[in-house]
């Protein structure tokens, strides 16, 4: 069993279309018990058995942490991705038995904060659904700014407005509405913590502006799940087991290692948590590092790789495990 990824046997209790791109899934325990408790910002890894392929994708829990009768996630359909979200949209129906991991939180609230300032872009809204529910229950001080392409793609914007009224500020790209970020960041009371979840460009923009406006990095939290990118197939040898395996175009290195019967540790499967970091024994070719965990120096050294999101092009690659 992998570190931190104890499994839960669940059944899909409901599937609800939210808008043209997003569908919500509800899970309950097969034995009828309560699910494990979690905190706002936590995710679970969902195992998708698609014929002879198994995909494992992380999704943020978006229900209230105060209600553990069911877990809910929202999946945005990605027509050009590797197929995980398409599988969820097409093949997952109420009654289907699935396996998910225990919740893991790599994007938790800092409860010492005097105020929580949240910035969401697109489907990046999901962790904030749980965080706002958690804070509202505790009378917490928060403010959420949410940017989406159009009003109809503002997933749960109506729910949030209904629940929290003026604590929610919406921005629609098609109406050229933009967050006045510098003003927003410069007028926050001392002791505010900033949370951002959305596309990589948005996260980089917000982190950059916050740093140059004097926000200490300790007060800036962000979450970005980089989905594994497809690429050219390549072969890899695992030194400990002596296995040589093929990573195909649509498969991540981590998935190929798992398919070969090795059970490596992982938590986020998005290149940020560091759990699956692996030592490189030897290589002839070039790495395509897609992670946010290793330093630039690590990337240049060719001594380490994050198999959840990174790939390789070349003649030979030998990893430790």
């Amino acid at each position: 069993m992998s570190t931190g990824t104890t499994k839960l046997d669940v059944v899909v209790s409901d599937v609800v279309p939210v808008n043209e791109l997003v569908t919500r899934f509800h899970f309950r325990r097969r034995d009828g018990d309560l699910l494990p408790t979690f905190s706002g910002g936590a995710h679970v890894v969902v195992e998708m058995r698609d014929g002879d392929r198994t995909r494992l994708n992380p999704y943020s829990l978006m229900g209230s942490p105060l209600d553990t009768r069911e877990y809910t996630i929202s999946v945005r359909r990605d027509d050009v991705g590797r197929g995980g979200s398409l599988f969820m949209h097409r093949s997952v129906k109420p009654g289907l038995e699935m396996v998910i991991s225990y919740p893991v939180n790599l994007f938790s609230l800092d409860l010492r904060a005097k105020k929580h300032l949240m910035l969401a872009g697109g489907i990046g809204i999901t962790p904030f659904m749980a965080q706002t529910a958690q804070l509202a229950g505790e009378g917490g001080n928060f403010e959420l700014h949410y940017t989406c392409r159009t009003a109809s793609l503002g997933t749960y914007a109506d729910v949030l407005r209904e629940r929290y009224d003026r604590r929610i500020r919406l921005y629609h790209d098609d109406r050229e509405e933009r967050i006045d970020l510098d003003r927003l960041l410069s007028t926050q009371p001392l002791g505010t913590h900033l949370y951002v979840c959305g596309p990589a460009g948005m996260i980089n923009w917000v982190r950059d502006r916050a740093a140059s406006l004097g926000w200490p990095s300790e007060a800036v939290h962000f979450e970005h799940f980089a989905a594994p990118q497809p690429g050219l197939p390549f072969d890899v040898t695992l030194a400990v087991t002596g296995k040589t395996i093929r990573v195909d175009e649509q498969q991540s290195l981590l998935e190929a290692i798992e398919a070969a019967g090795v059970d490596p540790p992982y938590l986020c499967r998005g290149g940020v948590c560091g759990q699956c970091e692996t030592n490189v024994i030897s290589y002839d070719g070039k790495f395509i590092h897609n992670d946010h965990w290793l330093s630039e120096e690590d990337h240049r050294s060719g001594c380490k790789i994050m198999p959840c999101v990174s790939r390789f092009e070349g003649r030979s690659l030998v990893l430790e495990r």
Partner: protein
């Protein structure tokens, strides 16, 4: 600079200019030198957004050096207690983007940090530099009284009179080192008192 002994014993750094719009400096005595040394490495115009609060030592030195930096505001206070209301007011009205720089004795750094922590600044994001006396602020673990400017080991509690071993065990909440009775078994045993924190 103080050496690291046990994990709670604070370790200080060297002040360095941070990005941001507002810079609040709090210093006592030779802490002024930490500020003027940093000023040499600061970008042009840095002190236009700076406020310096300074408690001069008994010799009254270093005021002119700080004034020469031309901060937006310069304020002198006779003691930490006297600047406390003003500091609290400043932090209450402050916004994210304010950076805090503390220079001087451990007593000053610790107490200013205590107020800033309450205002919501993470202690790891404050710039600190220890200069001048090694004198400690000590809490007697028996009567809970605080004795300022302890320079000897052991030290006498100014409140209950017990003879205390000054430990490196530091409380960020109290901004004080812990003093524990050194002769609890036999009060007639008086170990020699040394100047340990000059």
């Amino acid at each position: 600079m103080a050496a690291k002994s046990i994990i709670s014993r604070p370790v200080y750094g060297t002040l360095s200019p941070q990005p941001g719009k507002h810079h609040l400096f709090i210093a006592d005595a030779e802490g002024a030198l930490a500020i003027s040394d940093m000023a040499a490495r600061a970008p042009a115009g840095f002190f236009e957004g700076a406020e310096i609060v300074f408690i001069a030592g008994p010799d009254g030195k270093h005021v002119a050096e700080l004034e020469a930096l031309k901060p937006a505001q310069f304020h002198q206070a006779p003691s930490f207690a006297s600047l406390l209301p003003r500091l609290k007011q400043t932090l209450t009205n402050a916004h994210m983007g304010l950076r805090l720089y503390l220079g001087g004795t451990e007593g000053l750094i610790g107490q200013a940090m205590q107020v800033a922590l309450e205002a919501g600044i993470d202690h790891t994001s404050m710039q600190t530099e220890h200069r001048g006396s090694l004198a400690r602020r000590m809490q007697c673990v028996h009567c809970k009284g605080i004795t300022e400017n302890v320079t000897t080991q052991p030290a006498t509690c100014a409140h209950c009179g017990l003879l205390l071993l000054v430990r490196d065990h530091y409380s960020r909440r109290l901004a004080a080192f812990q003093g524990v009775c050194i002769n609890a078994e036999d009060r007639s045993e008086i170990p020699p008192m040394e100047e340990a924190f000059p």
